[in-house]
């Protein structure tokens, strides 16, 4: 997994990450527009406008819905992004999301005597379940050196089947008629915190506030604590960190556990939103986890970037609902997002292009004849301020695989 968690060498390049994200978004939208144009030229412009502004059609309700859709993917985005920062690719966020959702629904349905704190307990259950589910790939990575991507894919499917199995075989949880879980008790629904007054008619609730708080906490852990520093250092170079006296195995496990807790929180927030969501007993992975990958990549794994990119993705997804007016299928949004991810995966080329030009300009300034070697594989820029120090402390050499 080289390249994901690394920062650039010059701090002035920090905004290059932002440029490459915007570049990826523009290409994604362009491809989307071309597909619209190709499949039905007459409607393409109207359809494209709808993608960009459809979310605002219903005014404040639309904005509320965007925030509602953004809530779970902020959490899975933070989950994947936090793992990226610590050098791990948590593709298992989907499974952790599902297991967290399951725990919150179990508490939501069964623990009806808790009263006012019912929803808080249910959310905690989700967080803990997600964390425990991430413990499996975490331990396997730390103690058996098993690639967390493979372990994550396996635990995704195991988690999904396990949850479906338990839901289906437990009468207290299973709604046989609809083939899904029963509704949670009203006390388990997250309070609206007056947000329903501001955004009338939408499903938005205090979950968005909790998600934002989670983002702030992650920011503080990563950037203001020794603990976060150690986690990132292990991500840069496991061996060097060990040499420097960091317990690298423990750090890897902690990274995965925190990442899983965030994904689990997302699951809890999604199913306790009081918007009529149930665990459907179908053999399909939850999409929120994969959306988390998009959100994290687009947000450059930075908590604030993740907040913005989650809202952006929720925004164009909301716009996609109105596309049927133009006889387009809403899947065009998923195509656009996939293209965005594809291009942010090799956004390095943009950085290289810009840095090349800068070098060239300098060379021209000096006199032009000096041969400057082409930039070789500049590490990608998902970093932030104090990662520079880490780079100095732990020489980037290969990374772990």
């Amino acid at each position: 997994m080289s390249g994901i968690g690394n920062s650039s060498k010059k701090s002035g390049w920090k905004n290059l990450g932002l440029i490459s994200s915007i570049f990826a978004i523009i290409i994604g939208l362009l491809v989307g527009f071309l597909i619209l144009l190709f499949s039905n030229p007459n409607q393409a412009i109207g359809g494209f406008k709808t993608i960009l502004t459809g979310a605002l059609t219903d005014g404040s309700k639309g904005i509320g819905m965007v925030l509602y859709y953004a809530t779970p993917i902020i959490c899975t985005g933070l989950s994947v992004g936090f793992a990226f920062k610590t050098g791990l690719f948590n593709i298992g966020a989907t499974g952790q999301f599902t297991v967290g959702a399951f725990a919150s629904v179990v508490v939501g349905i069964t623990a009806t005597k808790l009263g006012n704190i019912h929803w808080i307990v249910a959310l905690f259950a989700a967080v803990i379940a997600g964390a425990l589910w991430a413990l499996i790939p975490g331990l396997l990575k730390a103690y058996a050196n098993i690639n967390e991507v493979i372990a994550g894919i396996m635990t995704n499917y195991i988690g999904m089947y396990l949850v479906n199995w338990i839901v289906k075989d437990t009468n207290a949880l299973f709604n046989m008629l609809e083939n899904r879980s029963k509704p949670v008790a009203p006390t388990a629904n997250i309070p609206k915190a007056l947000l329903d007054q501001i955004f009338k008619g939408s499903y938005v609730n205090a979950g968005i506030i909790i998600a934002v708080i989670a983002a702030i906490i992650i920011y503080i852990i990563l950037n203001k604590t020794t603990f976060g520093y150690e986690l990132k250092a292990v991500g840069f170079n496991r061996d060097a960190s060990k040499y420097a006296g960091i317990n690298e195995k423990k750090s890897i496990v902690w990274s995965m556990v925190i990442s899983g807790a965030l994904a689990g929180l997302g699951g809890g927030l999604f199913y306790l939103a009081g918007s009529g969501k149930y665990i459907e007993v179908v053999d399909e992975l939850a999409s929120a986890g994969f959306d988390g990958i998009s959100v994290a990549l687009l947000g450059l794994s930075h908590p604030i970037g993740i907040l913005l990119s989650a809202i952006f993705i929720a925004y164009i997804k909301q716009g996609g609902f109105y596309l049927q007016l133009f006889e387009y299928s809403g899947e065009i949004i998923d195509i656009i997002i996939a293209v965005i991810i594809y291009f942010s995966a090799f956004s390095m080329i943009v950085r290289n292009f810009i840095s090349n030009r800068e070098r060239k300009r300098k060379v021209d300034h000096i006199g032009g004849s000096a041969q400057i070697p082409a930039p070789i594989n500049e590490p990608s820029d998902y970093g932030s301020e104090n990662e520079e120090e880490i780079r100095e402390a732990t020489q980037e050499e290969g990374g772990d695989k």
Binding site: M154, Y157, I158, D169, D283, L297, E331, I341, A345, I376
Partner: protein, 317 residues
Amino acid sequence: MNPVYFLCQQTMLFSIPLLIVALGGMFSERSGVVNIALEGIMTIGAFASILFINTFQDRMSGQPLLILAILVAALAGIIFSLFHAYASIHMKADQTISGTALNMFAPAFAIFTARQIQGVQQINFNNTFRIQKVPVLGDIPILGEVLFQNAYITTYLGILVLIIASIVLNKTKFGLRLRACGEHPQAADSVGINVYKMRYAGVALSGILGGIGGLVFVIPTSTNFNASVAGYGFLALAVLIFGQWKPIRILYAALFFGLMKTIASAYSGIPFLTSLGIPSYLYKMIPYIATLIVLAFTSKKSQAPKAAGVPYDKGKR
């Protein structure tokens, strides 16, 4: 019919696509490119070829149509896989991210295109491809019933692919060079092997086999394609790891996983299995759990290609 034969026939139907796709993944990973886009490649291959069958089934039927569809699937797979190759070889992108993007793209594209063309996302087709009984061979006791009755030519294609793949990988110059690029690309380059070219070849082979695998998965198990191969690409990835990146072991892994899938889907029809009382979900989970266990026990002497997942950079030592 004897339930044992039924079980064997069904297992073949589930195992063959896993075998083909995992062998495709093997070529990609042995060349040094991690390919988690197998799921997406299968989806695109199945989509293109089923759409092809849907369009031409009025004019053709039976084996000629299936053979043409296989070619279409291979072509679609190779084109799609080149996106992964370009990103991970030329752009030195993170291979997992590029693969994830393609996995997201494939079903969305299949649904969108199907709806634009025909209004609904399911693409129907008539299954005219089943062979009741192969003449002569079908009469062989036991083996005939398992392999040559109620079969598809795709089964034989799978076996053929296995034989060719193991010969190409282990006995040819190309195979040796491919493996060198996956183990130590710098060393391979130093003796004049074009690492980029070999890696493109590896990914393209995974595209061909992945695309075909998508079609092979859909044909026997359904009469329509609904923009999904039900996680078979990821399962094939598990087969690849379970088989430790070696053709013959991949065959065993594919058979084992196929058996588990068969039991999970057909166990209610088999009295012996229902009397055991093990829920079908357990059978569905076993392949994934088994892979994790095998990984945990073999990680110390893992056969994984050393350079898989690491972009090749000439300037690096």
